[in-house]
Symmetry: C2
Subunit: 373 residues, 2 copies
DNA sequence: GTGAAAGCGCTAACAA
DNA sequence: TTGTTAGCGCTTTCAC
């Protein structure tokens, strides 16, 4: 008997012993909690008496596996309670099946609703979504980009608020990225948004059609304006000018902080300062909700005295009293298109940056009813 | 010259060539976008002229590396723009650094705020959070548990709404889990919540102290009650009974759908049916916001005619008009404790299930002001 | 203090 | 149709 012949059986025994232990553990585990720890592809292969490749084929629903083999493997899988380990799979394939969705803060209802739309769209294409909050800070945005580059995700949907397009374009070349919204976006990078200028014009024109002439704009940043605020204010201004009304700086109601409370204070302060308006275009629904409170606290009636509009069509905009006339972006369309483009990039598409617009709708509700009312 | 001697230089040349290509790519990449594709530990090791082990030590801040070596390695890392690949690391260590946070729906403000608190608490312990939405369905909850078991996360924070505690306890034994909230929780599993019965009593007693006697409960499920609704209704009932008031089934205002609009309809329908109340304990802030609208639509004044209370202290509860008296759970404390316990479990702790309570506070605001007002 | 090599669990050429 | 084997990028004994 040579050393080789001696070693082989010993090795087999080792394997078998390992297997026996695993099965024992399985029984204990099943008895304990119905599951099983650390079952590997190999364990299944051994129990089924086939190779790992075959098990892998069965697991991934590869076609060319004989029915009998497949059945045997599936029996082994069930018996052992095997579940594929994503980490191993991802390391081998280089894909994680995860998309990062980065924006400032999930507690902003628009982003929460966006994330649902994105999750749904991603799910339809076999991806899951890792939410990343940037807190709207440059540091936060850099951290998110950096960590996304660590291979945990296959691509990133990014709604920037601080980062410049130059810096965005400096990201690592192998991380596919799609920009959401009207923030900075380098030309070579894909982006999806709605036409903010046009929508802001539409909403302002709606107030003009109601006969309002002293129309304010509320809820934008008190300091450096965001791209979002700029575009919406541009549309507001255009609509006024087209109707021969000169935009007045006094009719701008900035918020010290972009939040509903910020709008309560910002709008409140201007009203207390004696500024008179009969219409208010708010930067977003949250600002509009704050404006509603600021007006109502002071006994101003909405829409009779002041008609108010929001933006985003968040769920609560239907429930305020009065509920909000608002711009309703096609969130599902936006999410679907963004995910599609990202998945194309992940798939290797290297064409030029595509900058696409999606639809929106002006939803007329109580806070600024239609002229017919 | 032997074959061996011949092969060695060739191999070295191959390595060097590979290296030259990488550096070239690096230059191109840096020129193009400041980053670099696919730099591996090995590439850094080669450039620095050390072994992978040493680079790994430097990357992970291992102490025992000589300063000169460390510096050389760091230079190579910077030069190549190396970033460790999480997948590889995780496969090797068996840890992903990811915690799943599973609940029905991020668009529910309470959950959005919870997720921020959890992200913060997890970040402090070196973990990141993967948000998982179950849509409040049994199928959704099962899918989340199943996918969490696929090795993508190290543990899961789960706020169940449908799954029974028996089924929860059947999950795979190697997936640490902590239950959030008052839903089903098997005894052996850790859980963190606030005392819903006590808090509901506190909020009801607040209304009683205001002299309200016809106090309703609003916003619970029209059909099968959730654990949350049950506990809050129990506290409501206890407070009434302690004050010698018999709870009246007519004063229950269920919602066909747990949403603000659902509450608008539910409360509205009861009011239209002629039910009279002077106080309304709402299951949550969203229901309270809906109730507010239902009341205001009908000209009922809040709090003068009907005092209203919410639950959760969501951001918008400060901005409604009137703003909401509400139960403010210590979200940060809850998140911190839940993450701590989960991380302990991940670390191998196997003690009995711990069921812990965290603080809450009754926030008195306009919708049900203090008696002194 | 540093290096060599054996995995982690899976996939995918290439063989058979 | 199925098996063999060489990685994926990293960590980690165990030597040196």
């Amino acid at each position: 008997m040579t050393a080789g012949q001696d070693f082989q059986p010993m090795f087999e025994n080792l394997q078998r012993w390992n297997f026996v232990v695993k099965v024992y553990c399985a029984i204990v585990a099943v008895a304990r909690c119905g599951g099983l720890m650390g079952v590997r592809l190999q364990d299944v292969a051994e129990l089924a008496g086939v190779s790992m490749k075959t098990v892998s084929n069965v697991v991934r629903d590869y076609e060319h596996v004989s029915p009998t083999t497949r059945e045997r493997v599936q029996k082994a899988i069930a018996e052992l309670g095997y579940r594929p380990n994503m980490m191993g799979r991802r390391l081998a394939t280089g894909r994680t099946g995860l998309l990062a969705l980065a924006f400032s803060n999930v507690t902003v209802p628009y982003f929460a609703e966006l994330s649902r739309a994105v999750s749904a769209a991603a799910g339809a294409l076999g991806y899951r979504v890792l939410l990343e909050e940037t807190d709207g800070t440059l540091a936060g945005e850099r951290a998110v980009i950096a960590s996304s580059e660590a291979g945990m995700v296959d691509g990133i949907l990014f709604q920037p608020s601080m980062m410049s397009s130059v810096e965005i374009s400096r990201h690592r070349g192998d991380l596919p990225i799609v920009i959401l919204g009207e923030g900075a976006a380098p030309l070579p990078v894909d982006r999806v948004m709605i036409d903010n200028v046009l929508a802001a014009r539409a909403v302002t024109e709606h107030l003009l059609a109601l006969g309002r002439r002293r129309i304010g704009f509320a809820g934008h940043e008190a300091g450096q304006l965001s791209a979002t605020s700029i575009q919406r204010m541009m549309g507001y201004q255009q609509a006024l000018e087209e109707h021969g009304i000169r935009p007045e700086p006094r009719l701008l109601f900035p918020s010290a902080e972009i939040s509903p409370s910020g709008a309560v204070q910002g709008v409140g302060a201007m009203l207390d300062a004696g500024v008179k308006v009969d219409g208010l275009v708010c930067r977003d629904d949250l600002a509009a909700i704050g404006a509603l409170r600021a007006l109502q606290e002071r006994g101003v009636r909405v829409p009779d005295d002041v008609a108010v509009t929001g933006w985003d069509n968040i769920e609560l905009s239907r429930v305020t009293f009065p509920n909000l006339t608002t711009i309703a972006p096609d969130l599902d369309g936006l999410a679907r298109r963004a995910v599609e483009m990202l998945v194309e990039r992940i798939g290797g598409y290297t064409g030029d940056g595509r900058h696409e617009l999606v639809d929106y709708e002006l939803l007329v509700r109580e806070s600024a009813p239609s002229a017919a009312n």
